[in-house]
C-alpha cells in the first residue's frame, strides 16, 4: 500500500495545477522524502505498452466531439498506470478557448481544471491526469497545437502521457475510431532544442511518419456496464402470439447496419481537404524556398566580403604594410537562421493521413459494391 500515497505525491509534484489541491477530509499521510519516493514508486520504471480506455471515456469523448463547434474538441484523460498499461478511467472536456494568446482565458482553463479535479476527487473518481484527447476529422490530426500540448505533457507527466485521437468522420461512418499516440524520442529531442532545420531533421531521421508513435489501445467495459449493455441489447419478452421473427423489435439497442450504406459520403469532402492541404503545403514550401534563397544570397555576400578583404591584405603585405584587422563578418552580414521545417512536415503528414483515409473509404466501397452485385445477381 506504500505505493499509493507516493504515486499521488509524485503526480502532484509534477503537475502544478494539482499541487494547489487542498484535501480537506483526507487522512494525512507522512510526507515521503523525495529521495525515497523514487524508490517506492516502481510503476514509473515500467515502460508504457498499451492504453486501456474505459467505456465511460469512449462515450464521453464521442459525445463531446460531436457537440463541439468546429470539430475542435479536446479534454483531459484521467486514470492510473498499472504494470505498463495506462488505464484511462475518466475524462472531462476542456472549455473551448477562443483566443490562444489571451492570458485570462489560459488562467481560466487552469482554474477550471484544478477545481474539476478537486471535485472529482471528492466523489472517489480518479484525479490524476494521464494525457488528453483530441477530436479530428478524416484521420488527420497533425497540428502545431497538438504537438505543443503533447510536448508539454510528455515533460510533466510521469509516463509522458498519451494523446487519444478520435476520428469523428470515421465514427459517423460506423467505425468508432480511437487511437493512442505519443511523440517519439527523436522528435521530442528536436523539439526541445527548438531546432527543425534540415540538418536537425537529418540527424534525428525525422519524417512525418516518425513524429508520433502509436500505442496499442484497447477498450474495456466494466462488469456493471457490460451487464447493463447486455440488458439493453437483448430483447424484452415480446407479447404472446407474436411471430418469433418479430420478437427482436423491442430492444433498446437494435443491431445497426449503417456500415452497409453504399453512398460514398465524404469522399468529395475528403478530396477537397487533400487539395486544401496541398495548397497550404505549396505556400509553405514557397516561403521556405524564399528564405533559403535569402540565406544563400547573404552567405554569398559575406563570402565575397571576406575574399575581398583577404586579397586586400595580400596586396598590403606585399607592399610591406600591416594587414587590416579581420573583421567579424557575422556582425556585418545578418545571416537569417535556417527556417523551421516543422510546419511543412506537419502539412505533409496531414496530406498523407487524408490520402490514407480516402484509400480506406474506397477500398471498403469496393467490397460493398461487389457485395451488392452479388446480392443482386443471386
Amino acid at each position: 500500500m506504500a505505493a499509493a500515497p507516493s504515486m499521488a505525491a509524485a503526480i502532484a509534484a509534477t503537475l502544478p495545477a494539482v499541487s494547489t489541491t487542498p484535501a480537506p477530509a483526507a487522512p494525512t499521510y507522512e510526507a515521503i522524502p523525495a529521495s525515497m519516493s523514487k524508490a517506492i514508486d516502481i510503476e514509473a520504471d515500467i515502460p508504457l505498452t498499451s492504453v486501456q480506455l474505459d467505456g465511460l471515456v469512449v462515450s464521453k469523448i464521442i459525445k463531446h466531439s460531436r457537440e463541439a463547434q468546429g470539430g475542435n474538441a479536446h479534454g483531459l484523460l484521467l486514470g492510473l498506470d498499472l504494470d505498463g498499461t495506462l488505464e484511462v478511467s475518466n475524462c472531462f472536456p476542456l472549455p473551448h478557448h477562443f483566443n490562444e494568446e489571451d492570458d485570462k482565458s489560459i488562467k481560466g482553463v487552469a482554474k477550471y481544471q484544478a477545481s474539476m479535479l478537486r471535485s472529482l476527487k471528492e466523489v472517489q473518481a480518479d484525479d490524476s491526469i494521464v494525457g488528453f484527447y483530441q477530436a479530428t476529422t478524416l484521420g488527420s490530426f497533425f497540428s502545431q497545437s497538438l504537438v505543443e500540448t503533447q510536448a508539454i505533457h510528455q515533460e510533466r507527466l510521469r509516463h509522458g502521457g498519451v494523446v487519444v485521437v478520435h476520428d469523428i468522420s470515421q465514427t459517423a461512418r460506423g467505425n468508432a475510431s480511437f487511437r493512442g499516440f505519443r511523440l517519439t524520442k527523436a522528435f521530442l529531442d528536436a523539439y526541445k532544442r527548438n531546432n527543425f532545420s534540415t540538418e536537425s531533421l537529418i540527424d534525428h531521421r525525422l519524417t512525418f511518419s516518425t513524429i508520433v508513435e502509436e500505442i496499442p489501445l484497447r477498450v474495456r467495459t466494466n462488469a456493471l456496464m457490460s451487464a447493463f449493455l447486455d440488458t439493453l441489447a437483448t430483447s424484452s419478452p415480446s407479447p404472446a402470439g407474436a411471430a418469433p421473427s418479430l420478437a427482436s423489435s423491442t430492444t433498446a439497442l437494435p443491431p445497426s447496419y449503417s456500415v452497409l450504406n453504399l453512398g460514398g459520403v465524404g469522399v468529395a469532402r475528403n478530396l477537397e481537404q487533400i487539395v486544401e492541404a496541398m495548397d497550404a503545403y505549396k505556400t509553405e514550401e514557397g516561403n521556405l524556398g524564399y528564405l533559403q534563397r535569402q540565406i544563400a544570397r547573404e552567405k554569398a555576400r559575406a563570402e565575397g566580403y571576406v575574399m575581398k578583404r583577404k586579397e586586400e591584405n595580400a596586396t598590403r603585405v606585399a607592399q610591406g604594410l600591416a594587414p587590416l584587422p579581420e573583421e567579424d563578418v557575422s556582425r556585418l552580414f545578418k545571416i537569417p537562421p535556417e527556417p523551421s521545417r516543422l510546419e511543412s512536415m506537419l502539412l505533409l503528414g496531414r496530406i498523407g493521413a487524408y490520402a490514407k483515409s480516402v484509400e480506406e473509404t474506397s477500398s471498403a466501397g469496393l467490397v460493398k459494391m461487389y457485395a451488392t452485385k452479388a446480392g443482386n445477381g443471386a
Binding site: S115, N175, L246
Partner: protein, 300 residues
C-alpha cells in the same frame, strides 16, 4: 426503444401545443443519452461501502412539448442516516458551474439515484431539486443497476406532485413517465464498440473498417439464412405463415437494383478505383517529399 422492463408509465399526450411556453408544465417523457447512464453506473461502482445508493444531478435540455432530454450527469455527495439526509449543495453548484462552462446549453433538469427505492428522503431531495429547476419541474431517474438479486436492470423516470391536505416537502407522489435511450446515429458505432468489448468479456481493440464490414455482412448472411429457413418451413406447411412477415420480406427483398445492371456498376467501379489510385499516388508523393527534405541539404 424502451429502457428496461415494461412498466406502468403514464403516457401523457401534449394535446395543446399553443399552451407550450408555460413554465412548470409537467414533463411528459424523458430521453436519456448513454453518457449520462454510463456516468451513473460509474458513480455507483465508485461508491463507498457505507453508501447504499448514490445520487447526482442530471443535465439536459427541455423541449416545448414537455420532453426532457438528459444529456449528461454528475455525481453529488450525500449522506443518509436513519435520522436525516444531507446533500452537498455547494458541491452541486460548483460542478454545475464547471459543466456550464463547457456546455452552456445543458441545464439542470433533475436528479438520479440508484436502486428503485422511493422513500421520504427521495421526496426531500426531489423537493430540493425542484427549487433548483424552478420554475420547471424536476424529474427523478431511478436507475436499477441489476446488482441486487431479483431486480431487473433498467431505468425509470418520475415526476412528482405534492400530496396531502397541507403540502409538506416530505410528502410527494412519484408518477412514472416513459423513459427511452436516445442517441444520434453518428454515435451509434461507439456503442457498438462498447457492446463488442462487453461481449468478448476481455478488452477489445478498435478494428478496421473492413473488419466491421465483414461482421455486418456475416450477420446479414445469417439473417438471410434465418429468413430462408422460416420461408421453407412455411412452404412445407410446418408453420403457419404470418402475412405481416411476408409483407415485410416482400418490401425488403423486392427493392430492385436496376441501375447496377445498366452499366452503373462499371462506372462506379471505375470511379472508386480512380479515387483509390489517386489516394495511393498522393500518399507516396508525400512520403517521397518528406524523404527528399532530408537529403536536399546533404547533396548541396
Amino acid at each position: 426503444m424502451p429502457l428496461g422492463p415494461p412498466s406502468s408509465a403514464v403516457h401523457l399526450q401534449n394535446a395543446t401545443p399553443g399552451f407550450v411556453s408555460t413554465p412548470g408544465r409537467t414533463p411528459t417523457s424523458v430521453t436519456v443519452h448513454p453518457v449520462a447512464l454510463f456516468s451513473i453506473l460509474d458513480h455507483y461502482l465508485r461508491r463507498t461501502d457505507a453508501q447504499e445508493r448514490v445520487i447526482g444531478t442530471l443535465l439536459g435540455t427541455r423541449s416545448d412539448t414537455g420532453e426532457i432530454d438528459v444529456r449528461s450527469s454528475f455525481a453529488v455527495l450525500h449522506s443518509e442516516t436513519a435520522e436525516q439526509v444531507a446533500v452537498d449543495m455547494e458541491y452541486h453548484h460548483t460542478m454545475y458551474e464547471l459543466h456550464h462552462k463547457v456546455n452552456p446549453k445543458e441545464v439542470i433538469v433533475g436528479w438520479y439515484s440508484t436502486g428503485s427505492n422511493l422513500n421520504t428522503y427521495s421526496a426531500l431531495i426531489q423537493n430540493f431539486y425542484t427549487q433548483e429547476t424552478a420554475p420547471h419541474q424536476a424529474i427523478h431517474l431511478a436507475v436499477d443497476t441489476g446488482v441486487v438479486e431479483g431486480e431487473q436492470a433498467g431505468v425509470r423516470a418520475y415526476v412528482s406532485s405534492p400530496v396531502g391536505v397541507s403540502p409538506k416537502p416530505e410528502n410527494a407522489v412519484f408518477v412514472p413517465i416513459p423513459c427511452e435511450l436516445l442517441f444520434k446515429e453518428t454515435e451509434r458505432s461507439g456503442l457498438d464498440l462498447l457492446a463488442s468489448a462487453s461481449s468478448t468479456l476481455s478488452s477489445s481493440h478498435p478494428s478496421t473498417d473492413l473488419d466491421i464490414l465483414e461482421r455486418a455482412l456475416r450477420s446479414v448472411s445469417d439473417m438471410l439464412d434465418r429468413v430462408l429457413t422460416y420461408v421453407r418451413s412455411v412452404l412445407a406447411g410446418e408453420v403457419k405463415g404470418d402475412p405481416a412477415v411476408g409483407r415485410y420480406l416482400m418490401d425488403t427483398l423486392g427493392s430492385s437494383a436496376e441501375d447496377l445492371e445498366k452499366g452503373g456498376f462499371n462506372a462506379s467501379l471505375q470511379d472508386t478505383l480512380m479515387v483509390s489510385y489517386l489516394a495511393n499516388l498522393v500518399r507516396s508523393q508525400a512520403e517521397i517529399s518528406s524523404r527528399l527534405a532530408l537529403t536536399s541539404a546533404a547533396a548541396s
